[in-house]
């Protein structure tokens, strides 16, 4: 039986809808959503999390210029630009720190929370130079008192933003072909690593990553140096590595991650797509996206 305070809570919940005011629910990582200027996205790396406004995109390097954002009402200081609830794309005010803009890798980005229309975006990013410029927009009132809740929130936001800036992003490998062929007979791979023949074949042609332990075992069995084994594994093609940085793959990557190791899970997913490609034609980011979609769809939700 709902109590009086529960009823009140549900009334408050109805008055605080999620998602943007227009266009219904625009949640989560829709496969068609590219990272673009004006988006407010949730970003996280390990335990550090923050909402960010994308103000610039370097598509080839999968890096974005971003501004820290607070959705927490009352969290602001004198360098904040606040979009009041009336002018906000969400049913609540949003605070931005345009002067704190910095680069982050796509790999930290996740859910799309809202999009800021271009005109409003320009005012927000320019506001610090032109003072108050638009209705529903204002500068932060004052710096919060030391030790107050708002001061704690701002510190946590900027600490998290610092972690996000330093998170690993796209590293472009020099070539998409292995440095050397793996000169190990197929049966030896099957017996040593206890893998099915299909995976053994993929390992042999360098389209399947090995753990350090597996590489050590194989090196011992084949009487080779570990480096010879590791050199025979092809780095992922540039377009595939680039596509894997898109936030649309964050969820399946996170689902696969063991102990939060997203980097490892991303590489693993990449090699699955790479093996699939061995039986298909076509290249470029678009093709890799389709293959990744097929893999993720096949494993269900």
């Amino acid at each position: 039986m709902p109590t009086e305070s529960s009823e009140r809570w549900f009334e408050l919940a109805r008055r605080a809808p999620i998602g943007p005011k227009r266009g219904g629910l625009l949640r989560s990582a829709n496969p068609t959503d590219d990272v673009s200027v004006g988006q407010i996205r949730q970003a996280y790396w390990r335990e550090s999390t923050a909402a960010l406004l994308i103000t610039g995109v370097d598509d080839s390097l999968a890096r974005a210029r971003a501004v820290p954002v607070a959705l927490e009402t009352g969290v602001e200081d004198t360098s904040t630009v606040v979009v009041e609830a009336d002018a906000s794309p969400l049913y609540g005010p949003i605070a931005f720190w345009p002067d704190a803009a910095a680069e982050i890798p796509f790999a930290v980005l996740d859910t799309l929370i809202a999009s800021i229309p271009r005109q409003l975006l320009e005012i927000i990013t320019e506001a610090t130079h032109h003072g108050d410029a638009a209705e529903g927009l204002r500068r932060g009132h004052a710096n919060p008192l030391l030790g107050s809740g708002a001061a704690m929130a701002i510190d946590e936001l900027f600490d998290a933003f610092e972690v996000l800036q330093n998170a690993p992003g796209l590293t472009l490998s020099a070539a998409a072909t292995p440095l050397a062929q793996l000169d190990v007979p197929l049966p030896l791979i099957v017996d040593t690593l206890h893998v099915p023949q299909a995976r053994a074949m993929a390992i042999r042609i360098g389209k399947e990553p090995l753990t350090r332990d597996e590489a050590l075992q194989l090196a011992a069995a084949a009487n080779l140096a570990v480096d010879d084994i590791l050199n025979a594994i092809a780095p992922l093609p540039v377009d595939l590595a680039r596509e894997l940085q898109e936030p649309r793959w964050r969820k399946p990557i996170r689902r696969r991650a063991v102990d939060g190791d997203e980097d490892g899970a991303r590489t693993q997913l990449g090699y699955e797509a790479y093996q699939l490609a061995a039986r298909e034609t076509g290249q470029g980011q678009q093709h890799w996206r389709q293959r990744l979609e097929a893999i993720v769809a096949a494993e269900g939700r």
């Binding site: 927490e72 049913y91 008192l145 030391l146 809740g149």
Partner: protein
Amino acid sequence: MSTTHIRDEAEALGHLGNAALTMMRSVFHEHMPRFPGLDDADDVDDLVNDFFEAKGAGYANAVTAVPDDGAARRLTSKWVEHWLVDQVRKRPWGALRNRLEKRLERSNLFATSALAHHWTLADGEDTDLLVGGDELRAIAASAPVEVAPALGDGPVRLGRTGQLEEMLLRVLTAAGRLHVSDLTDICAHRFPSLLETTDAFDATAEIDWDIIEETVPGHDGAATAVAKRHHEHRAAQLLPTLSARDRTVIRFFDDPRGLATELGVGRSSAYSLIAQLRTRLIETAGDAERGREVVAALIGLVLDDGAVVPSLDDMSMEGSNAN
């Protein structure tokens, strides 16, 4: 496997649902024992509702944007902590504002402005001089105000005769006129101990401002040698009251980056820790100038005292928000 009940439910409803309510109440139950300043009368369910009303759609959007229920709970825990800290501070803050207004009314140095809730100098112009908050706080910090520590159950004594008025006079001379909230902010920055939880609240609420006028005038500060010995003495007195964490902050007083590494916190948090300790030391020492001298003396003492500084491992655990 991590669950996403809170988000799934919200996406189906368009707003937060039962899973969020249950989680929010559980987070509040977890935090309440850490905030003894809240009355027993504060029903947790009511506090949850007050929090939700204050944070509204911003909270609903934030808590459904994080990857799973665990992250939603961690985010809620942080927001609840921020909010509870402010709820507890609001009470002494309101008392401070009331007392400050009485003090302004009683002095013939100050007059009410034509603008509601604003104060100006009795013989000054009723106008805004557009000076930054940081500058005003620096002016307040440079004005000497002795704070006598509360003895037993007695009230905190804030300033010898006319010292608080002198500080307000300097601030209003620079600012022209100020809202009483801004004046309260400046005082709250200048005297952070007045905003510490329950004990300070009680002391502040019970402050009889007359007591301040009855205290004896301060020393004239003529002899530097005496002053220097005074700072060293003050530093030596303070040293045992510093926590292990405070000592670490002192060691890295001019090196926020080093402090961040040492404590395993972010740089912004390190800056705040240093600023907080500086403000506390200014309050204790009497003004910014003497605060600096005491800090200098303390740095010497803490560095000499290196051998007895407790293990830093304990502290980095206690202070970490970055793991």
